[in-house]
């Protein structure tokens, strides 16, 4: 197994970096080491963002029995044969979009606070990129190895709220301001369950370091059942809470209220156009990717292979695969669910997710305390843990949905 962990493919990215570094003159080497890492992350996730947008549009189309973008091909001067170049499944759509966004007119309202109006998209992209620093993309691939990585992640993520406020306030537009306030309320409400859903993992893994959390999930029962945290009762509950909160944190449907176009035009983005708008768009996807990456790291075993047989596949491929699955899940949810009302949104957080997440912390504590139980006691442990998840879920769920009897649709099948 250690051979696999040390295989050439596993080390390839690092080897490549070291080779590139040693090409440079000695005084530049220490900084280029970091610069290469940053550039690599930017390039990979920049492209990832680009293709996420097109994947999202295509998937949404398919989910609604449509085709999605399939036109944008390559320009005429490319050397590929026509039938490939012609459409290319619409894969070059993001580049067309980028060119469009770059060439659009950049409008700044006359009454706007120019500095803040400019700063907001910069800040939001900057901070959402910063969160990538602590995600372990592979066995050896973590940009910064921090002891308090999870804390760092949430600290960096919380800055996006400020950026949204800056965008909303500096636009001098009532819709923008209202949307910004709404976004803030939403982000603050859901930051709590988001963090609380990760706390159980911290409790059980007893570390804040993301790479150590991934290491803690690296084992298999019978070689096929991975010890990912999502496969425990508390981990599953935590993962679901994390998913819901992550949806809300990244302003995605069904929690896309701040951009509810029927109420607020385009929310805090109303007064943004062209490249600044594209930056916001980008930051949103970066945030989504980072949160998905965190979910993969914390609950889905990070770069760990799902079974022992597949251990030889390079770890970063596993990470990317899981990341893509997570994002597809988000897209799937977006293609399915309707937008919530603001009162439903806050109620969901404070009356449902937060209590469940708090109970889940206790659940994880129980799990950690009973770690040495074995034999039939394992069954007791699982049963108790599952009961701590299911019983409150049913009780709270019932009380929340009390009075909303199953609806009968008179005019629809």
């Amino acid at each position: 197994m250690s051979a696999a962990a040390d295989s050439f493919l596993e080390r390839a990215p690092l080897e490549l970096r070291d080779w590139a570094v040693q090409l440079l003159p000695a005084p530049l080497q220490w900084i280029s080491h970091h610069l290469i890492t940053i550039v690599a992350v930017l390039a990979v996730f920049g492209l990832f963002f680009a293709f996420t947008t097109v994947a999202e549009r295509k998937l949404l189309g398919r989910l609604q029995n449509r085709l999605g973008p399939n036109r944008a091909g390559l320009p005429k001067f490319s050397i590929l044969p026509w039938h490939i170049r012609h459409k290319l499944f619409g894969l070059s759509q993001p580049f067309a979009d980028a060119v469009k966004a770059l060439t659009k007119e950049d409008i700044v309202p006359a009454a706007a606070d120019k500095v803040l109006h400019f700063l907001a998209p910069v800040v939001v992209v900057g901070f959402s990129l910063m969160t990538f620093a602590v995600l372990p993309f592979g066995r050896n691939l973590i940009p910064v190895e921090l002891d308090a990585a999870l804390l760092y992640f949430f600290a960096a993520g919380s800055a996006s709220e400020l950026a949204i406020f800056m965008a909303g306030w500096s636009s001098r537009n009532k819709y923008s301001l209202l949307a910004a306030m709404r976004a803030l309320a939403q982000l603050i409400s859901y930051e709590l369950p988001l963090i609380l859903s990760v706390v159980p993992v911290v409790l059980v893994a007893s570390t804040l370091s993301t790479s150590a959390i991934v290491q803690a999930q690296g084992a298999w029962t019978f070689g096929v059942l991975p010890h990912w945290f999502v496969f425990t009762p508390w981990g599953f509950a935590g993962f679901i809470i994390f998913l819901i909160s992550a949806l809300a944190e990244s302003n995605r449907s069904p929690f896309d209220l701040p951009e509810a176009e029927s109420e607020l035009v385009a929310g805090h983005l109303t007064e943004y156009s062209g490249f600044k708008y594209a930056l916001f768009f980008m930051a949103e996807y970066f945030g989504l990717t980072a949160l998905s990456g965190l979910g993969v790291t914390v609950f889905l075993g990070g770069w760990q292979a799902p079974c022992e047989l597949l251990y030889w596949v390079p770890s970063y491929l596993w990470f990317m695969g899981k990341l893509i699955l997570m994002i597809m899940l988000f897209i799937w949810v977006r293609g399915t669910l309707l937008r919530l009302r603001i009162d439903q949104l806050t109620r969901l957080s404070w009356q449902f997710l937060v209590p469940l997440a708090l109970l889940n912390v206790g659940n994880a504590a129980f799990w950690a305390l009973t770690a040495q139980w074995s034999g039939p006691l394992q069954l007791v442990r699982w049963a108790v843990s599952a009961a701590i998840v299911i019983v409150p879920f049913l009780v709270i769920g019932r009380s929340l949905s009390a009075g909303y009897a199953p609806r009968t649709y008179r005019y629809a099948p």
Partner: protein, 172 residues
């Protein structure tokens, strides 16, 4: 090292001073966020990562939000455009005098103080160590802080909620 510290200090003090002088409250608040971030940078510089991230999470993430909400909820019309009152001038002057004199006395005291030499190595404090100390030695304090936070949260909600009773005529 010292250069980095000075850079951080300039950022931190500059934005703090600007925040205290601006008439636009939102600008003040955002500048203060910058200042708090500077403080976090100082913590990072001193090797206290955990505290730095906690500082950002609490101040830039939470306190700033509360401040901004408070600013927006208590907006007064065109305050920035009002003429400066004479009382304001005297108050500012006296405040400056007091603050400057305090700065002078503390600064001189600090400048003349002698401290035992310390190691140049930053002390290593892992998160685990902090966690263990928090839970073991300072467990009681941690509990009390938890209670304080809870009480403060509930108290803030109670204070800020509209406690006016509805007029009986309003009731349908």
């Amino acid at each position: 090292m010292t250069a980095a510290l000075l850079l951080i200090a300039v950022l931190m003090l500059g934005s703090a001073a600007a925040a205290m002088l601006r008439r636009n409250l939102i600008h003040s608040a955002l500048l203060l966020v910058a200042s708090w971030t500077g403080v976090a940078a100082f913590y990072l510089w001193a090797g206290a990562e955990f505290v730095a991230f906690a500082q950002i999470l609490v101040y830039a993430g939470a306190v700033s939000m509360v401040v901004l909400f408070a600013v927006l909820l208590t907006r007064q019309s065109r305050e920035a455009d009002l003429p400066i009152e004479p009382a304001t001038v005297t108050r500012t002057a006296s405040a400056f005098a007091v603050a400057a004199s305090l700065a002078a006395v503390i600064g001189s005291a600090v400048a003349t103080a002698r401290f035992p030499a310390a190691s140049a190595e930053a002390p290593a404090a892992s998160v685990k160590q902090i966690g263990l100390e928090l839970m073991a030695e300072h467990g009681a304090a941690l509990l009390i802080v938890g209670i304080v936070l809870t009480v403060a949260l509930i108290g803030a909600t109670v204070i800020a909620s509209n406690d006016k009773k509805r007029d009986p005529e309003d009731a349908p």
